[in-house]
């Protein structure tokens, strides 16, 4: 049994207009039927372009946005249907680390107050001394100086602020941490430090992670399983080493093309998939396969009309593509201008 198990989760935001009273004139299909499992102590990496619904998915799991339908099974309970006090109590076990460490910290709270707020909310305070000790232990764990307690967020550097954000999540001793692009707002030089910190903490405390990122490079070595998201749905999921070696979905192939490979020979000879066009609007997603409007392998049948299911194609490797097998076997050729060897490639 996985610790966290999401089934057919949908989050549709109503689009409202109206002079006197708001009318719903449509929906943004931000998350549209996502299923995934995160094993206890494991890390699930979720990648996808900006706007594909990654953050919304993460927030829906934590019930920070309203869930339209589907279930979020956590340790035997369905979080998607919990309400009020029971939901609030459950929150201590699942925590979030945000993308922007500045805006996710209240500028009027000092570090001690930030770190004690959750403890107070769950009555985990004990006496003053015990609480202080626990908070200081947490500060040590994330590598912040003890003197940080009385200081305010703006007095810290970006990397340190993200450490405060991580400490805030840790202080409640959660089982699951959802990290929404935890390093993309940070300088490249500190990105690795923060990723390493997350890894260390996982080893020491047995945490379970759902890590969201918009590029594969960030989640690559910390994830056990990686899911690739496109326009509200997962198009491919595989153990991370498998995904890198043999991506099967055309969209994943395209994403991979953007990640530099350290080996120069491989870098020069590998195929690259170039995507045309922009991400369609999630308020008006394409019919059938969401990716068919940009897919170089698009076929006359099925792609435009039938939405492919995520199906198992290998050991833990799932792909949502009608023609995955044919593409793999080379029976279907991509449109000539979309796939190029690096020798002829112009950087798009």
């Amino acid at each position: 049994m996985s610790l966290l198990s999401v089934r057919d989760l949908k989050v549709h935001f109503p689009i409202k207009r109206g002079v006197l009273f708001d009318r719903t004139i449509g929906h943004v299909y931000a998350v549209d039927g996502v299923s995934l499992d995160v094993e206890r102590g494991g890390t699930y990496g979720l990648v996808g372009e900006s706007g594909c619904g990654k953050s919304t998915l993460g927030r829906a799991v934590l019930r920070l946005v309203d869930v339209t339908s589907g279930s979020v099974e956590f340790d035997g309970k369905d979080l998607a249907t919990l309400k009020g006090e029971p939901l609030r109590k459950e929150r201590s076990r699942l925590q979030m680390v945000f993308q922007d460490p500045m805006s996710s910290l209240d500028p009027r709270q000092n570090v001690e107050s930030i770190l004690s707020e959750g403890l107070a909310a769950h009555g985990m305070i004990g006496d003053r001394k015990a609480r202080r000790a626990h908070i200081q232990q947490t500060l040590d764990a994330v590598g912040l100086p003890r003197g940080a307690l009385s200081r305010y967020p703006h007095e810290f550097s970006g990397g340190q602020r993200q450490r405060i954000g991580i400490a805030r999540a840790l202080v409640l001793k959660p089982d699951v941490i959802i990290a929404d692009e935890p390093v993309s707002a940070l300088d490249v030089s500190v990105q690795a430090q923060v990723i390493n910190l997350l890894e260390e903490l996982q080893n020491d405390l047995g945490l379970t992670y759902l890590v969201i990122a918009h590029d594969l490079a960030v989640v690559r070595h910390i994830s056990d399983t990686i899911g690739v998201m496109y326009l509200g749905g997962i198009v491919e999921e595989a153990p991370s080493d498998v995904l890198y070696v043999s991506p099967r979905h055309p969209y994943t192939k395209a994403l991979m093309s953007a990640v530099p490979v350290p080996d120069p020979e491989v870098e020069d000879s590998r195929e690259r998939v170039l995507l045309k066009g922009d991400l369609p609007s999630p308020a008006n997603p394409p019919t059938g396969c969401r990716f068919h409007t940009r897919c170089p392998w698009r076929q006359e049948t099925r792609c435009d009309t039938e939405r492919p299911e995520l199906t198992l194609v290998g050991d833990g490797h799932k792909v949502a593509c009608h023609w995955a097998a044919e593409i793999e076997a080379g029976e279907i050729q991509p449109k000539s201008d979309a796939v190029v060897g690096a020798t002829t490639a112009e950087v798009a």
Binding site: M102, P107, E117, G118, L172
Partner: protein, 316 residues
């Protein structure tokens, strides 16, 4: 919606934006204000105005109510003495020293402006705060309450404020308190919409999400996080409101709703009194008018500069 509501909403969203620098929003804003000559001009005008109002009894060279020179005017067959060494701005139609009346009159304007703005601020903040709190705390029912409160508020906002003030003053009858209440009432919907909008913008911010994720209770989030962080636009508006309040208070007094009181001169009343001498002594109208304009200008300059300092889009 109207330009007025758009302006309010724009102001409301300001503090929700991400801060670029490591420093606080106000720290940056003040640094920019200090370099803005218009803001400094406004601040100096306000400072002078407040000092004059406070020190008025010591600054005024004569008793503002004493008709010392009435005999002189009568003797000269209605000729009103202009500026001269004893009376720097001349005397008014009833033989009182004009400068002393202007100086003492500043107190009334400051008093009405401050009290009216405080009233509008307090009542508006309660209304807007409640609306925003309902919106944030009570789900669907809360959204309904908020919706209804804000529709009424928008209707009140759509009424020209001087008209609203006159209506209130007519109901309450003449008097200084009337003017304060009437002018204050017109500010209520402005502050209400502003604070509610500001709270709404804050409630979408990441740190509110973070607190929710921690399991902090909604009431605590609203009171400890959303409300305190929503106050900066309201303070900017308070500065701007002082200008409006001073002009409206003068307007109401001009219309005779202020309850004339010889011992307590008021700029609006002075303006009204000057009407009968317009043809011969235009200066009697010009002095109070200029006083009103400069004071209102001071608050507007500073208020607008604060808006601009907080708003990256208005900044060049």
């Amino acid at each position: 919606m109207s330009a007025k509501t758009d302006r309010i909403d724009r102001l409301a969203e300001l503090t929700a934006r991400k801060d670029e620098g490591g420093h606080g929003l106000w720290y940056e804003a003040f640094r920019r204000l200090r370099r803005n000559p218009l803001a400094m001009t406004g601040a100096v005008i306000i400072l002078l105005f407040v000092l004059i109002a406070i020190l008025a009894p010591w600054l005024a060279p004569h008793d503002p109510a004493a008709q010392t020179w009435l005999g002189e005017i009568r003797g000269a067959e209605g000729f009103i003495p202009g500026p001269r060494s004893g009376n720097w701005l001349g005397v008014d139609g009833l033989g009182r020293d004009e400068l002393s009346r202007l100086i003492i009159g500043s107190r009334q304007s400051l008093l009405v402006g401050v009290v009216a703005t405080l009233l509008g601020f307090t009542a508006g903040a309660i209304l807007g705060g409640l609306s925003g709190a309902f919106l944030g705390m009570f789900g669907k029912a809360g959204r309904w309450v908020d919706s209804i409160l804000m529709r009424f508020n928008d209707m009140a906002l759509a009424v020209p404020s001087l008209l609203l003030a006159i209506s209130v003053a007519t109901i309450l009858g003449q008097g200084l308190v009337t003017v304060m209440i009437a002018v204050g009432v017109t500010q209520i919907p402005v502050f209400a919409r502003l604070l509610r909008g500001s709270m709404l913008a804050q409630s979408h911010s990441d740190y509110v999400l973070a607190s929710t994720a921690l399991g902090v209770r909604k009431r605590r989030i609203v009171l400890n996080h959303i409300l305190p962080n929503s106050m900066s636009p309201v303070l900017v508006q308070a500065t701007l409101s002082l200008a409006t309040a001073i002009i409206e208070a003068a307007g109401l007094s001009f219309l005779g709703l202020g309850g004339a009181n010889a011992a307590n001169p008021e700029w609006g009343v002075m303006l009204a009194d000057s009407q009968q001498y317009l043809a011969t002594n235009l200066r009697l109208a010009v002095y109070p008018a200029v006083a009103i304009i400069i004071t209102a200008l001071g608050f507007t300059l500073l208020g607008e500069a604060m808006r601009e300092a907080l708003d990256p889009k208005l900044r060049k």
